[in-house]
Symmetry: C2
Subunit: 301 residues, 2 copies
């Protein structure tokens, strides 16, 4: 898959101003929309996640995109493609997990079709009413970089799962890392606090592709340097710094905001600041080498 080439072709074919952020902001309708897919053996493996957890994660992953925009998650549709041998129990558990994760977000439709493997695609709508909507191109020199929680837990969880996969099929998740991987929590409240209180333009992303990736994307889209103090990045002591930086699927939020908002919000950690200069991410003053397959020109996220 030459994903980046494909993205460029799509961008130039569509020539749309909407493509670039986690969500498309449809101002005339007062909504944002996002669509995300989970494919068996690409994003998950049957043996490592229960149907309930898969439903839960599908919803959270999609709600997280809306949270990144600052909009209020409201409605979603879920399209499921399933192999012939799928049983009723799978459907029931999947939707129980989905409903549990959705909370106040209503699942209002979708479709079911046949396929060889499990393929899930969900679309989510958020309302922009009373919210200031983010864009990853809005980071400005002087802004602080804040995050909503610990990084690297999901990747650590996956590592543990790969070592003892059959165990997961049993009930309960009493391990923080495994829970972070299988049943992540979208940062709804962190997003609401910022979007309802902030006056200035700001940048916000979720860390679905890892913290470093999000920082690179904001730096490039905003044409700024992001300077991170690694000692301030919240993480569990058991997780090494590479995993903290590059481990994906934590679904935490990272935002570049003016300092004056900080007195109006809670539950954040300052991990760095935005500086003037050619797009770059610095760790403790040293320029971080861009990954070769950097995702900064993604179709979305």
């Amino acid at each position: 898959m030459k994903e980046q080439e494909f993205i460029q072709i799509i961008k130039s074919t569509l020539n749309s101003p909407y493509i670039g952020d986690d969500c498309a902001y449809l101002k005339d309708l007062g909504i944002v929309i996002s669509q995300d897919s989970l494919v068996e053996d690409v994003h998950f493996k049957k043996g490592l996640i229960t149907p309930y957890q898969l439903g839960y994660k599908t919803v959270m992953v999609n709600i997280s995109d809306i949270c990144a925009s600052g909009a209020k998650p409201k409605y979603m549709t879920i399209s499921l493609s399933l192999p012939k041998d799928t049983d009723n129990e799978f459907i029931e558990q999947f939707y129980k997990g989905a409903k549990s994760a959705a909370g106040e977000v209503e699942i209002v439709g979708g479709d079911i079709t046949g396929s060889d493997k499990i393929y899930i695609s969900a679309a989510v709508i958020g309302s922009t009413k009373g919210r200031k909507i983010s864009s990853r191109s809005n980071a400005k020199p002087g802004y602080k970089i804040i995050v909503s929680g610990e990084h690297g837990n999901s990747a650590k969880g996956l590592e543990i799962l790969m070592q003892k996969s059959p165990l997961v099929q049993t009930k309960g998740i009493n391990n923080k890392f495994i829970k972070a991987h299988l049943m992540p929590e979208a940062q709804v409240e962190f997003s609401r606090q910022i979007a309802e209180n902030i006056k200035e333009d700001y940048a916000m992303m979720d860390t679905s592709d890892g913290l470093a990736d999000a920082l690179f994307q904001i730096a490039h889209a905003s044409n700024v340097i992001i300077d991170i103090d690694t000692s301030n990045i919240p993480h569990d002591p058991a997780v090494d710094i590479q995993t903290v930086l590059y481990g994906g699927e934590d679904y935490q939020l990272v935002a570049a905001v003016p300092e004056n908002i900080l007195q109006k919000i809670s539950g954040y950690t300052i991990i760095g600041s935005v500086k003037k200069g050619s797009p770059a991410v610095k760790l403790d003053g040293k320029i971080l080498k861009e990954p070769e397959n950097s995702l900064f020109n993604h179709f979305k996220e």
Copy 2:
């Protein structure tokens, strides 16, 4: 796939009032949303459709759902999952076809992921501003049943394609039936005329699953008899009546409307009327036997 059982499980698990029509009508946001998927070897075969046609059809199939609601199609997102060997040409042609079909509808996002087969899922948003939104439960005794165009052409086109598949890969479609199958047209204008002018509640559906299926669904949801005069159903003389009734994917619209609207719209054909009584479809006065796998309890459509 025990699709109908699955739908029942989803309905009872979610217990949502939104599920039932082609689109979910989100009144507080003034929008409708729909999501539809096309899966390789389930909905299409690579050898029978070009990438351009596939992009075109993906968009039209999804816009058609919005047209069925009476809303104005505005925005869509497309999620593509593609095998590793997909080339740039596929992407370019797919999106050229999609853009051509979209017209004024803007494609505002989506994602690309890997997979074994081609899997396409699109979500569409329609605006309800100035439009009266349909529901398949709104047909009332005395209403007329009208349709937007010919039925059975798409199924006839597929039949022709199956007989001479390699030809399709060559340029151009000079056959009306093949065109109806590969590049259907959503009935945007038919929908607009009704939704902008009608005062009363009305029922409307597209004929993606066939005319008979749409009639059964409206009859059941509205608890009425639908009496059809088969000689009035528009169709090509080359298409037999079974194909006219049961052939899917024409993406025509069928509506149950009060007679007074007819003077304000054009391009319709009256094919029958709505009568009081236990839910049924009658053809020329005779009750039509319900297909065993009737789709009237579909998740959507």
